[in-house]
Assembly symmetry: C2
Homo-oligomer: 479 residues x 2
C-alpha cells in the first residue's frame, strides 16, 4: 500500500487518508471547479522527504499534486482521483534573510504575509503582491504570481533568483543563487517558475528583496470611458515617474468593491454619473517631499489627459481602496459570478479588447465586468452566464480576441486544470508538443500534477506509470 510507504516517509502524523482528508484539500478557490478527493494527503517536512515521496510515487505509478495555501484561481492544485496531494504546510520556514545581498531564502509553504512581517523590521520588501497575502511562496512560484505592483517591480519570475526542486525522477536540483545574472547553462529556475507544478516541486526559493519605500500616495481619477484611461497610460508611463500601481476599475466593479468593503470615497454625485471607469495610481518614494512633488505633477498630467477630476485620497481611504480592489475576486464570488478570466494584452490594446468583450457580452446576454492592471495590460473579468455551453463559447471568444491582439490566455492566474482545454484548443500545436517534450525531460513518468496545463506525457510502456496518465483534458465546458 502506497499509504503505508508514505507514512514511513513523513510519519503517521503527517499523512491523511479516508475521512481524515479535509474538504479544503479537494479544491482551490477557483469558481466552478469540481472538487476531487485524493487517495491521501502527505505533509513532508524536508526536501529529502519530498524526494522520497516522488520516488515512491514513481514506483507505484501514483500521480502527485503539489499544494501550497490552495488560494489559486485555476484549479492547478485540484487533486487527481487515486492520486496523492503533497501539501507544503510544514515546510514554511524562512531559512535566511540576507541583508547584505538583499535576498531571502524560504521554504514553499511560507505565506506572503509571514514573509512580509519578517522583512518589515529590516526595511526590506518582497514586492510581489498578488492580492492574497495568505498565498504561499511555493504557489506564487508555480503560477508566476503577479498583482498590482507588477507595473513597477515585475512579477514572481523577476524576483526568484534560485530554487531547489525535486524532479519527477526524485532527483533534487539546485539552480541559480544569490545573484541576478548568470549564463552558465540553461536557466532551470526560469523554466520551473510558472510551470504550475508540472515539471518539479520547488522545495526552496531564493528571493530578491528591495529597500522598502516608506511613503505612498493614491490618486483616483474618474474617466468618461475605459478607452480614455487606456489612452492616458502611455504618457503616464513615459513621464518616468514610475508608479507602483496603475489600475483601472470599471463602474460596476467600483460599486461592487466599495460596497463589499463598506467604503465611501466621497466622489460627488455628478461625477459618479458621468464616470464609466476609474483610474487608480499609487506612487511610492523614500522621500516625502519628492512624493508630494510627483503626486502633484501626476495629478496635473492626468487632468490634462481627459479625466473628469483627480482626487488624492487620504492615507486611510487609499489603503482601503487598494485593499478592496485586492478583494475584487471575492466581491465577484459573493455576487455569484460564474467564472473569471485574466487575459493579458499589450497595454495599448486594452480598449480594443474591451470593445470586443462588450460586444460578446451583449451578444450572449452575459454580464462581464472587471478591473485590471492598466499599466501592464492584464485584464481581470468576472463573467455571469449560467449556461455552461454559452459561457464556454464566450470565454473561448474572449481568449481568442486577446490572442489575436498579441496577448496570452492568462496573465497571472495560470492555466491550471480549468483552462487546460482552452490552451489545447488555442495554442500552437508545435509549441504544445515542444512543451510536452520539456515536461518529459523533467517528469518522464508523468506523475507531477497531471491534468494541469496539459495532459501529461507518459512514455508508452514506462514501468509503473500506468496509473499516472491522469484525467482526460478538461474542455472548459461546464466548469
Amino acid at each position: 500500500m502506497i499509504e503505508d510507504l508514505l507514512a514511513t516517509i513523513v510519519g503517521v502524523d503527517h499523512i491523511d487518508v479516508g475521512d481524515q482528508i479535509s474538504e479544503d484539500a479537494t479544491h482551490d478557490e477557483s469558481l466552478d471547479g469540481v472538487p476531487v478527493r485524493p487517495r491521501a494527503v502527505v505533509r513532508p517536512g524536508s526536501t529529502e522527504e519530498v524526494a522520497a515521496i516522488v520516488r515512491a510515487a514513481v514506483v507505484e505509478g501514483i500521480p502527485l499534486t503539489p499544494r501550497g495555501s490552495g488560494t489559486g484561481l485555476s484549479g492547478a492544485c485540484t487533486p487527481v482521483a487515486g492520486g496523492v496531494v503533497v501539501s507544503f504546510e510544514r515546510m514554511n520556514r524562512i531559512l535566511e534573510i540576507d541583508t547584505d545581498n538583499h535576498v531571502a531564502v524560504v521554504e514553499p509553504g511560507l505565506t506572503l504575509a509571514e514573509l512580509d512581517a519578517a522583512l518589515a523590521p529590516h526595511r526590506l520588501i518582497y514586492p510581489v503582491f498578488p492580492g492574497e497575502q495568505s498565498a504561499s511562496l511555493g504557489g506564487n512560484v508555480a503560477t508566476n504570481a503577479g498583482g498590482m505592483r507588477a507595473v513597477k517591480y515585475g512579477v514572481t519570475r523577476h524576483h526568484v533568483l534560485g530554487i531547489e526542486a525535486v524532479l519527477g525522477t526524485g532527483d533534487v536540483i539546485s539552480a541559480g543563487g544569490k545573484f541576478v545574472k548568470s549564463t552558465s547553462g540553461y536557466d532551470l529556475t526560469q523554466l520551473v517558475i510558472g510551470s504550475e507544478g508540472t515539471l518539479a516541486m520547488v522545495t526552496r526559493a531564493t528571493l530578491r528583496l528591495h529597500p522598502r519605500p516608506e511613503f505612498h500616495t493614491t490618486l483616483l481619477a474618474p474617466f468618461p470611458t475605459i478607452q480614455a484611461i487606456a489612452s492616458a497610460v502611455p504618457p503616464i508611463a513615459a513621464s518616468g515617474v514610475g508608479p507602483l500601481m496603475v489600475e483601472y476599475i470599471d463602474l460596476v466593479s467600483m460599486a461592487g468593491i466599495t460596497a463589499n468593503a463598506g467604503i465611501d470615497l466621497g466622489i460627488p454625485a455628478e461625477i459618479k454619473e458621468a464616470a464609466l471607469a476609474y483610474l487608480v495610481i499609487v506612487l511610492e518614494n523614500h522621500d516625502p517631499t519628492r512624493l508630494e512633488e510627483d503626486t502633484e505633477a501626476l495629478a496635473g498630467q492626468i487632468a490634462g489627459l481627459g479625466s473628469l477630476d483627480v482626487y488624492v485620497l487620504p492615507d486611510q481611504a487609499g489603503t482601503q481602496l487598494i485593499a478592496a480592489r485586492e478583494k475584487a475576486f471575492w466581491a465577484s464570488k459573493a455576487n455569484g459570478a460564474d467564472d473569471i478570466v485574466d487575459v493579458v494584452v499589450p497595454r495599448a490594446s486594452i480598449p480594443s479588447f474591451l470593445d470586443r468583450v462588450s460586444e460578446r457580452a451583449a451578444a450572449t446576454s452575459s454580464l462581464v465586468i472587471g478591473c485590471g492592471h492598466a499599466g501592464d495590460g492584464n485584464v481581470h473579468l468576472s463573467v455571469w452566464q449560467p449556461d455552461p455551453d454559452v459561457r464556454h463559447t464566450l470565454l473561448h471568444d474572449l481568449m481568442t480576441s486577446g490572442l489575436a491582439l498579441g496577448g496570452a490566455i492568462s496573465g497571472e492566474h495560470g492555466i491550471g486544470t480549468q483552462k487546460a482545454g482552452f490552451l489545447a484548443e488555442l495554442e500552437d500545436p508545435v509549441k504544445l508538443d515542444l512543451m510536452r517534450r520539456i515536461k518529459a525531460a523533467f517528469d518522464p513518468h508523468g506523475i507531477l500534477n497531471p491534468g494541469t496545463v496539459f495532459d501529461p506525457v507518459g512514455p508508452s510502456g514506462a514501468g509503473g506509470a500506468t496509473g499516472a496518465t491522469g484525467p482526460a483534458l478538461v474542455t472548459g465546458a461546464g466548469r
Copy 2:
C-alpha cells in the same frame, strides 16, 4: 551538395564557400580560441530562409553555428569543421518601435548601436549595455548579455518579452509578446535566452524599452582595499538611491584602462599611492535637481564608508571613464592577457572570492587583475599565465571557489566552447543530464551549435545526424 541546396535557399550572393569565407567567420573575440574554418557561411534574409536552412541541415546531418556580430568572449560562435555558419548580418531590421507599449521588435542582426540611435529621438532606451555597442541583439539574447547597468535594470533576460525562433526541427515558434507577465504554459522565451544558440535560432525579438533619463553623474571613490568597497555596497544599495552602475576597478586595471584611453582623472598622487581599488558609481535621473541632491547625499555616504576621498567627475571625464571601463577587455587583450574569467558570486562574497584569487595567483605565479560589477557580484578577471596546464588549473580553482561561495561559472559571457569543459567538470551531473534532455526536446538531431555549452545529444541511430555529433568536449586546457 549541401552548398547547392543552401544557395537555392538564400541565393548565390548570400553564401560563401572555400576562399570566399572571411577569416572573421572562423572565431569570435575570445582570447586563445582556435579558429575553425566552416564548410560554408550563409546569410539568410528571412525567418523562412532560416527554417529552410535548418531543414536542409537536418536532412544532410550538417551542424549549424549561428553568428551575430562575432563579439562574444566564450567561443560560442566558433564554427564546427564541416559545419555551416548561419550569419544574421542581413536580418538586421528594426521592425517596429511601439511608443505606446514601450517595446521594439527587432531582427537578430541589428546592433545595439543601431538600436540606440533609433530609440534616442523617442526618448526611449533599451538599457542593456554589455559594453560593446557593435554586438548584435541576437548575440545578446543568446548569451543573456549583461553589463554595467544590470544593477539597476537587470540583464537581457529581463528585457526580452518575446521571441520568434527556429527549432532544430525547422519548426518556427513565437513565444511571449508585448507584455511583461503571462502564465500560459512554459516560458519558452526565458528558456531560449542564454542558451547560446543550442536550442533554437532567434529570428525576432520583442524588447522592453524604458524612458530615457537625460541627466547623469559619475562618482569616483578611491578605497584602501577592495574589501572596503565590497563592504560599502550593501548600505549604498539599501539607501534606495538606485544607482545605474556600481563598479569596482582594481589599481592595476585602473592604470591600464586610463592609459589605454589616454585619460587623466586628476587624482592627487598621495591618494593614488594609498588606493588599491576604485569604486565608480553612476546615477541617472529625469530631474537635474534630484540628481544633484542624490549625488551629494551619496558622496557623503561613501565618505562615511571608508573611502579615501570622493570625486564627482565632470561630465566629459565621467563619460570617458565609463567608455574606458567598457574597453577594459581590449586593454587586457592589447597587453597580452592569456584568458579572462567572469565568475559571478553573491555581491557580499566579492572580498572572499578575491582573497582566494590573490592566493591562487600568487601560488601559481600568475598575474590576475580585474574590475567588476560590484553591485551584482560579477567579477571580471584578466589572467596572465602562459603555461596552459597551470592556467587551466588556476581557472578551475577560481571557478570552483566561485561556486563554493554560491556563485556561477559565468555571469554574462556564457559557457560557449571555451568553458564547456569546465561546465562538464563542475556542474551537477543531474542538471547536465536534464539540460541535455531539454536540448534534445528542441534539437533532436543535435545540429544546433554543437560543442557549445556541452556536447550535443544525438539520439543514436537518428537518420542523417551522424555528422552532427560535434567535436569532443573542450577541456579548457591549452585554450
